[in-house]
Symmetry: C2
Subunit: 270 residues, 2 copies
């Protein structure tokens, strides 16, 4: 352990670089052809390696995929955190929410293959406390944080949902809130779940091609649903749907600029 601090990392750096290259090659392979087209032999071939050599870095085909999932969730979480951070100075909470929701959708669009990887059916069981689950939790956490802050700041008042909660459901919500350490009423949690469900449902339908095919553009429909959703859970101020959606939705550099924030995950956004 003399000057190992400098030299020992040498080998580990090479190893990390190889891992990164494998992952990137795998992502490319997934990009054209879907998850089913990801083959270890193909990755090895593209890298000029032997298939067996890959097993020095990944125990199996499935753990590679799992690792890609975790990276993708991390990338999504980074994008959302950056978008939310960039929007904190906006005094209009509805607009903050819309920017965050748009950031989510933009990530889903620019990382289509990763999105299908994440939100398609889980073919392989990922054990709890996995890195994959942690990163997912981090991503959804940003959404819930935004909603909770809106409620806490008084911009949203979900108390009218109270009457919808049967005793059993209320108890479940309370337990969940305690588990998450979220200082928020059961009605607020129910409202957050409504919005999260709406957002996820829309993107799932859109990206898997199950929205009306006659549409040639779902931007406005998405904005409308995301704003209506917060109205529904008790956003107190009137929203001018025409003006708030006016700024062209595809120029916002919110996500793009944040992709390289943490080097650990920016490979997934390349």
């Amino acid at each position: 352990m003399t000057r190992m601090n400098r030299l020992a990392p040498r080998r580990e750096r090479l190893r990390a670089a190889t891992i990164a290259e494998i992952k990137q090659t795998a992502r490319d392979q997934v990009a054209d052809g879907g998850v089913a087209a990801l083959s270890l032999r193909g990755v090895a071939r593209a890298m000029g390696m032997t298939p067996s050599a890959l097993y020095r870095y990944f125990d199996s085909h499935d753990v590679l995929i799992n690792e890609l999932c975790a990276d993708a969730f991390g990338s999504l979480a980074d994008a959302l955190e950056a978008a939310y951070a960039a929007a904190t100075d906006d005094p209009d909470w509805a607009r903050r929410w819309l920017l965050l929701a748009r950031a989510y959708r933009r990530w889903a669009h620019t990382h289509r293959t990763e999105y299908t990887l994440l939100f398609g059916p889980r073919t392989l069981e990922l054990e709890k406390s996995d890195r994959c689950g942690d990163e997912m939790h981090r991503a959804t956490g940003v959404l819930f944080r935004c909603l909770i802050e809106g409620i806490a700041a008084g911009a949203v008042d979900p108390s009218h949902l109270d009457g919808q909660l049967r005793p059993g459901l209320r108890a479940q919500l309370v337990a969940w809130g305690v588990d998450e350490g979220a200082p928020i009423s059961p009605a607020g949690l129910a409202g957050a779940l409504i919005v999260w469900t709406q957002l996820h449902g829309f993107l799932s339908l859109e990206l898997f091609g199950q929205l009306p095919p006659t549409f040639d553009d779902f931007d406005d429909l998405y904005d409308q649903q995301m704003l209506d959703a917060i109205v529904r859970i008790g956003y107190r101020h009137p929203i001018d749907f025409a003006s708030v959606t006016a700024p062209s939705p595809d120029v916002e550099p919110v996500v793009a600029g944040a992709a390289t924030a943490t080097p650990a995950t920016n490979q997934a956004t390349a």
Copy 2:
């Protein structure tokens, strides 16, 4: 062509039976192990056949899967149509909607593997006007019919959504309505899309294990979201959330009794 009407079908009957057996065996194989576990060789092995013999009935592995998807959509559509038909005598439209929504969820639960098959990412491109797409359209059609009838009957008044529709979005909605032949306002279509998105989003999250894991039961949460959704799009009458959800949700035989309606698809529900 003498009495071919009687005898020629003999061979075709055998062929149809073999096709049915192949599909059923394939479904079983998918049931434990996911889509990835469906192998033609495995099916052939289980049937005491040669892999190559299967190609007399299905051109390829992907075609088989596509056929299973179409069957599954057909089964879902049957279940929804039966549930909706069974609920038409209920004078309370909200309750009709809830029964239909529950039927959807029950189908998703009892046909978990089919559900993941249908709403996971499309690995293989299904060309338009495919039987798969037709059956899907039939299934979603029931949902939209219910919503449209609620609006037409005056139980739902979505006109407050009108202010949310920017001109471009309104035009798209109108065009879609014309394409579907749905005599309904753009606001009504937007409302129907909101509800459909909410329903799909919930089931997608629930069945793919992305709702809060601390919950031990999502029945009440589902009912709450489905009822809140119709309130949101303008259901005019007050809903007693406590009483309408009171009847135990898992005794309703709506779907089960209807599964054998059409022999063409009941194999998928077996």
